[in-house]
């Protein structure tokens, strides 16, 4: 009941739309149907009651195998209900798009930064190739996604290094060396996609994409300077 209430509260707005769809990932007999349902939503009260009792027995089989595959890449809201097991996952459209784009990255060396790569990525997630229609046909979102992922990775890397320095396990680098290393690390992330990178750059320069790409660029620079020890406010 607690899990149902939690799930309900969280997905309140979807309930309001009257969508009485139950996607419970821990009900193995229906897994065949729901395995292909990428978005998981909470059900409404009337359907949850009869189900919680029957899902109890299935909680014991720890589906560790399918859990990682169904989790979105980033942090996601999840609930531990009775007995500490997860009851339901709630994934938004943005998270699903995020997953599709991440899956699409591995097809970029072959297809380039195009809707085809996104379609292949969607296929690996079990979705129809038409899901690539959610994104722009020139692949801008894919590139922006990749760039922002690289920036996040760089940020984390720099943070780790800073922690090591603070713990005294590493020496503090002089600013110019630090900057050079940071930029080098960031550039190395491009190596797997280096063949198609010119295409990506040209797409990033399209007037439509300039605000987002400039934004990513400036925030990356801010990050690097922050970790380099710059205290200025601009």
């Amino acid at each position: 009941k607690m899990a149902a209430a939690g799930g309900l509260r969280r997905a309140g707005w979807r309930l309001w739309r009257g969508r009485a769809v139950v996607r419970c990932q821990h009900y193995p007999p229906l897994r065949a149907l729901q395995a292909s349902a990428p978005l998981r939503r909470a059900s409404n009260e009337h359907e949850k009651e009869p189900w919680t009792s029957s899902t109890q027995q299935h909680f014991d089989s720890p589906p560790a195998g399918h859990q990682p595959e169904q989790k979105p890449q980033g942090p996601h809201p999840s609930y531990t209900g009775q007995g500490g097991q997860e009851s339901e996952d709630y994934e938004s459209e943005e998270q699903l798009q995020h997953r599709i784009l991440t899956a699409a990255l591995e097809f970029v060396p072959e297809h380039g930064w195009t809707a085809e790569a996104i379609a292949e990525g969607a296929k690996t997630l079990g979705l129809s190739v038409a899901a690539a229609g959610m994104f722009h046909s020139d692949g801008s979102e894919l590139i922006l996604h990749f760039v922002s992922e690289c920036n996040t990775k760089l940020s984390k890397q720099l943070e780790e290094e800073q922690k090591l320095v603070q713990l005294g396990e590493a020496e503090k680098k002089p600013v110019d060396v630090f900057l050079r290393d940071a930029v080098e690390a960031r550039l190395r992330m491009l190596i797997p996609y280096i063949e198609k990178w010119p295409q990506a750059l040209s797409v990033l320069l399209l007037p439509r994409n300039i605000p987002s790409s400039l934004n990513l660029l400036t925030s990356m620079i801010d990050d690097i300077w922050h970790y380099a020890g710059d205290q200025s406010t601009d």
């Binding site: 739309r17 009257g18 969508r19 009485a20 769809v21 139950v22 149907l33 292909s36 349902a37 990428p38 978005l39 409404n44 009337h46 359907e47 459209e93 699903l96 809707a115 085809e116 379609a119 969607a122 997630l125 079990g126 979705l127 129809s128 190739v129 038409a130 899901a131 690539a132 229609g133 959610m134 046909s137």
Partner: protein, 307 residues
Amino acid sequence: LRLCRCPARALLSRFAGAPRARRGLAARPEMHFGFQTVTEEERREKIYQVFETVAKKYDVMNDSMTLGIHRVWKDILVHKMNPCPGTLLLDVAGGTGDIAFRFINYVRSVRQRQLQRKLKHHQNLSWQEIFESYQKDKFNSLGDSQVVVCDINREMLKVGKQKAQYLGYSEGLSWVLGNAEELPFDDDKFDVYTIAFGIRNVTRIDLALQEAYRVLKPGGRFLCLEFSHVSNPLLSRLYDLYSFQVIPVLGEVIAGDWKSYQYLVESIRQFPPQEELKVMIEDAGFFKVDYENLNFGIVAIHSGFKL
């Protein structure tokens, strides 16, 4: 899956049942047929008759009424779909096959480009390998894409098949007689579902949307091209003038049928506007529902995804 849909269906039938209850025993839900009020069955019958009569002149009338612009609208729809080879398309109410043919052309050209790109990578292969890859690709000019044209009206399908033969389309095309409110297909089958200028003639739009949701694969796309409401007041007046004064006359002169084209024009006015249709599509369970106005709202393309 049945369990899930029942409550939704129950909600909907309650909704439809309420007016019934209000009017007493003999009442059947009243619907609009153009500006007349008829019962559901009457409406279905009348619409069937309309399209039976206009089937042979359908394409000619489309061209004359819209001054050929309907071709552009349909092109835009297929471009928006941006199908890649291997896509399975269901074109409902696709009678004379316009969308289906455009889909095949599009996929063929995309496939050509794909093969050309592959050729570039073949510079370093041996002759034997190139020969083998040619064998593989030669019989696959569509890349396994398929389109199923479904229509409730036999006459329209007949005209469509004749057109296909005349224009030389044979591969990847199939014609099925079926009702949009109750499609004769299994669940989770198609990548894209389109309905171009057809949903206006469906008696129960909500059922058609539910069926669309059912037959689409997860991640599949719903696309609807339909006449919609013009918000610009000046254009709206000109459009009304053109619709009510010119189109039925054209109908009489070219197809010999005033009434059918009067129905057409009236049904456009009765159709829900863009936002309302968007809400209906969302209610059927689609996500990322959006619409694009073409020609200031004369036509709108609604798109939704089954996620």
